[in-house]
Symmetry: D2
Subunit: 450 residues, 4 copies
């Protein structure tokens, strides 16, 4: 298992980044600097959501469900019309489909989706569960569909459940869960519960202050979080000292477009000062709102010289890259486990080359067995990145928008600030004589520097 | 050079396709079934455009310019504000930039684009020259900027050229070229000129009827082209016999969305019948308009069982994949040359692994020299797919949307209809010990079947 | 003054409505059935808004301002760029303009608006203060601009006020007021304060139950309000008995388009039942959400047979008319005073026809004096309907979208249910020999029936 | 009939305009300065459209139809789903409905439009026939529906006609007519036919040069037409001398928004100069494109000082008023006849006041008879402005957007340039004691000045 630990240190590369040229590091807060303990934190989130639903009238039987971390995978799509959880690739092809906790067979999937395909641009219907905060919610959709399906009072229909004059559509169920999510965050009960048992829910990594201190010696560093000031205060009163600039209430992804008004936070009261702040950067001041352009102005840096580290593939990474041309570093906590499963399994099953084997159907069968077994090692809905040989939507977005990625931003400690993260200089050829276009790779040497 | 010929036969794979499951093959016409001879056909297009511009008032000095096939690469972006031709990656980072025929240095590029980056979503400003028909146009932008820049009557300004009371903006220049393009196509003069010397401009491959005949034995086959009936008639009167269904005036990409009214073509007069055709498929009938849904109905096939072969990355491939979930095969005529250059050069320069070398700046310099030299072997604006180690926008779209790709659709002849085009079953690891996510590869054996 | 009282009974007609054909009456709640006492209620709203702003950091000097009912007129436009209150006509021509409490002269207006005109379609910049709830807010904009303009700590700029590093833009001031407005409504403090002194703030008209009872004898009747259930409960527990259908949380204007899910309200707890209600109409049940289409289904009536009575020109009247073709009755409480001022003044000044007078400049001067004097009789910002001889935007919308209008819905009591409200059958000719197109009129006889 | 002639001179007023303040007059070309002879010109247009449809495959029976000027009224709406011609009011209520030449009864209308109402914002379905050029087209829709309805080969369906495998939808019929309209204009055949018999089709009013000459003595004057240069040339080579500025190809309504590039026309060749014209106004030069802002700059006038005279309620009047705040003068050639019919009939039937009559149903019957008889005097589809007592959409737009209107712009000759067109200073009261809001009136004295 020493292999696993060595994996943990790695930063992977999709597009070359010369650390030496990075003049400014930006960080998101939740799941980036504030790392939550899994599955305890998801468990807490699930319970709060579940209890909220019961309090607004959902059946008490719902209380019997407890969070099961082996079920959900991040990046699934909820179909608000049919109540299914879908795992899809970047083109919308369906890789897996569950209704409640039942995994649908190919025939059944075809009945719902005649072409085995969704138009994922239809965001009115399909909701992508992109963030780690969505994990509890993902499991809750499973529970709700399971509950009503089994409940004898309700009749199963195609778009929901019927009970007398009431129709419980998957769509209204979805809306109720989303409202409960807002309730749990906006009322502060999630935060309160977290603060009550901080050691249970939040990782305190002694390397984090080391990393931030080292970065500050060579570059500017800022924090840009969608949380409000009071929420960001709790981890440690002194965290502000690590940053040249702290911005709360950023409203990413809007922050990377036109943004909002920049205001000062009165750090004594936690309240916003009225009016727009128009002066120079004041150290020790906390700001609210603003935009990526304003941050560049205040810190006097250009977008291409910023490396932004975050966990949200859409709000943090895709938008900062696509709208502003920033360099991006995606935090993917699941990566440690993903790599472990992959390594263990590929060693067992895939070493013998299948290319010498002339019988295609035998190959296909063998591949199916191996990949199925491996997929289930990740959990019931499989890997974050793949289903069999096919990439998930999440994986393809990771490749397109994240220049670098790793299981934690702490891994940056293992590379000197003069480091060149280099994508392999190959255009074609993946195996010895087969041409293929390759997007990147990770260059690391056995003599990892730190 | 035998290497080159063996390359020509290959079909490359981004996502697995089991030919056995394909129940229907669709083809685009221009540059897919009707292959044009390069650079003669581009040369013709250029002359017609150039002459048109002179006839509407552009300086007669423009007539001195002749088409130079070594300049343009497909997939460039024209910046209608500053008149630059840009080679960009999928995130909008600038890989190369030319103003007229002058390649801009890094400093100059930064003056135009402070972040070395364009928001390519801004389609009002940036025009992507996606198709092979755009090659002549690409070169013409170079000529026009060159002409006015050198012309002493005009003063160079940031967004165009000034001469007395007239301001020749890059934007109006762009509009004039686009109008000339429409003129050349809509009036039929390009078609007439092509017909006058068909052998000079069009490839007659005896394998094409062989391919279509073989396909028709195992699957349904249709033609869907944006050209009108009269235009599609010219290659050969008998081509209709190869297809179960012929649809002209398809107005792709609209065809893959809501489409238009389906009408019958009177093949005696070339005129459309009035009203919408609502009956079953009639063999020997030519249709106009319609949509991909109507084609599926008429042929009684599902989208996932169709392999659509075309040359237009946006109108043929991206849209059929993203909106309809079709299997896709992109024809990339440049691929033969791309592979030849790559092979010859990678053999010469890249065999010794750079990984043992501890001096990073030496590596970087060496890589720069090698890649620059190789890039120029493709032509002045370099490879269709890469610039140094970085992928172009075109390459990334090819990978996302084309399941298969090859230099010509004729290459399908070299694979049996029972063939499994298989993307490599790897998640991570591109070289022995380097993990990376890989999207696909081409599986072919030394014993190519046909 | 007996004239004034007779005015109060009138219902005015823009387009003919045959009461006999009306099969269903719908009512809005606030300012329609629940009539608030002016200016006490506006006074209360103003104080809550003002205090909220001070509590979020606005200068304490703001507390010195008290509501002045003689300043605001409904239907003004706030220019969030320059901080001006504008009175405009339906084409966006400026009739009056105040900055704080200073009325700008023609020259100054031209500096701000070179064409004396706003593009009122630009809703990002221009905010229409359409409802009676907006009156306090209107006055507050005046106070804020006045306060900062006079405050020596702040420097006056074109788009706001500067104080050191802070810039207090009119736009952020606007946003703060809007947020305060939401705070006052959403937290329920406005409602609480109202309930504490109901007699001070709410009119209890004994004729209201009489009207509703009579209507219910001849037609169906429903209540559709954007307020939530708990809010609508307070006037009287028994009000539900007057209606065939009560719908709360209607989210007009969305209600007149696609609407939201229809849910039952548990009238014991005030909470919503989960799921969508799909059954028939249940008497005594209160519903939440839904849409105008659902209401028609539940009550089994067609849109053209409904007369909808509301006070919101956009959310109640324009939308129900334009999207659903309902008959509309606009409640305009200001009408009593508008008519009184008009009558008194027109008697004094306008009786002698100006047409015999040959000296145009003398006419013009005289008209100006008369209209100015009359305009000020309405209050500082003049009439809701006119400025001089020119109609306001509000008046033109009233004419386009309200079939009937009156100062209170109680006035319906004065007409039998067999009544024909008839718009005059004239196309042209307003005075004896002058042709003009006329939109409608009120037909009532001296023998008012009830 | 002397009444008729006196009517002809009048200019009607919706909002006051002081001619003395007008610093610039703008004119549209077609139907404004170039007045076409009705019904000869509509007759010509109809024949060209009809013949075009037959040439693309419509039944030869269509040739039997000839233009009937008594059928169409301007401003009708064509329902492309059901093939009906609708006369509607500004709220979309249906006033009249014809299917082919059959006028539908109330019951039948309700079947098509359950609420007797269309959502006219649905421009995909409903097409407004706004201009005088649309009159032939309006009649053609009647002919086509009539033809197919009677034709025994076709089966009548709700959305079109069926004949074997062909479905002739009303929608595709509409598209064919629109394409034929473009064909007739773009190929120049309408222009050629007009030029062949200019005296038959175009009014030569000797007062036009008088008017333009007089205006030029007191103000600037420009021509802004959507026609191209060659088309505008034909009426008279010398017309350019009357204008300070001539702009062709204006692409109204775009002209009143962002507009297009301003280019010079080479008046020798009729071709455009390349590039954008950026200099000062050159007398005798003709321009192409541009925008209303550019016109203001070139002429150094402000929008509010311009009176723009045109015949297109949307492209000329609504847009110049709403987007630019110009003063507007709508040319309504039909007005002469409208006023004549009105006068003759109102004298006969409406003199005895209906207000003394106590029996409402008797009043209603009598009104119906009178208004029906009068409506038919205008033609089969009735008045441009009314249907019974109800205003048409056209009338309401005329009132909202046209400050002045008259049957011809020549009528401006009858008012001195010091004239004040004054809207009546009345807010309320249309008859002695009935209050109503009135929008305007026409002030003219018996001593008409010229």
């Amino acid at each position: 298992m020493s292999v696993l630990f060595s994996f943990d240190y790695r930063v992977f590369v999709n597009r070359s980044v010369t650390l030496e040229n990075i003049k400014c590091y930006g960080f998101d807060m939740d799941y980036t600097l504030a790392e939550y303990k899994s599955p305890d934190y998801e468990d807490l989130g699930f319970e709060l959501l579940r209890d909220r639903l019961v309090s607004i009238g959902y059946p008490h039987e719902l209380l019997r469900y407890n969070y099961d971390p082996t079920f959900p995978t991040r990046g699934l799509v909820f179909d608000t019309m049919y109540g299914n959880l879908l795992k899809v690739d970047s083109n919308g092809n369906i890789l897996l489909c569950s209704h409640g906790f039942t995994f649908l067979k190919r025939d059944k999937i075809h009945e719902y989706y005649p072409n085995n395909f969704i138009q994922r641009g239809n965001t009115d219907r399909f909701y992508i569960l992109n963030t780690l905060f969505n994990l509890s919610e993902t499991y809750l959709y499973g529970c709700l569909v399971d509950l009503f399906t089994r409940c004898s009072r309700f009749v199963n229909c195609q778009t929901g459940f019927k009970h007398g004059d009431l129709f419980m559509s998957f769509r209204s169920m979805f809306q109720d869960v989303r409202d409960a999510m807002d309730f749990v965050h906006d009322t502060g009960i999630l935060k309160e519960s977290t603060l009550k048992d901080l050691d249970k829910y939040v990782v305190r990594d002694p390397n984090l202050p080391v990393l931030l201190t080292r970065i500050k010696e060579v570059a500017k560093v800022f924090l840009a979080t969608n949380s409000d000031y009071n929420y960001t205060e709790y981890p440690k009163k002194q965290w502000r000292a690590f940053f040249d600039l702290v911005v709360v209430d950023t409203r990413k992804p809007l922050f990377f477009a036109e943004g909002t008004v920049l205001r000062q936070v009165d750090t004594n009261t936690g309240k916003l000062r009225i009016g727009t702040y128009t002066g120079d950067l004041q150290h020790g001041t906390v700001y609210s709102g603003g935009s990526s352009d304003i941050v560049c102005d205040l810190l006097d840096v250009k977008g291409k010289d910023i490396l932004y580290v975050g966990d949200h593939i859409f709000g943090d990474i895709l938008k900062s890259k696509k709208r502003q041309g920033w360099k991006t570093f995606l935090v993917v906590p699941e990566l440690a486990k993903e790599l472990q499963v992959w390594t263990e399994n590929s060693r067992k099953h895939l070493d013998s080359s299948c290319r010498v084997c002339p019988d295609i159907s035998a190959i296909q069968t063998r591949i199916k067995v191996v990949t199925y077994r491996m997929d289930r090692s990740y959990g019931q809905l499989g890997s974050l990145l793949r289903s069999g040989s096919r990439q998930t939507l999440f994986a393809s977005q990771l490749m397109r928008y994240a220049d670098l990625y790793s299981s934690t931003c702490i891994n940056l400690l293992h590379y000197p600030f003069s480091y060149l993260f280099r994508a392999q200089s190959v255009l074609v050829s993946s195996s010895s004589d087969m041409p293929v276009i390759i997007t990147g790779t990770c260059i690391y040497s056995h003599q990892i520097p730190c």
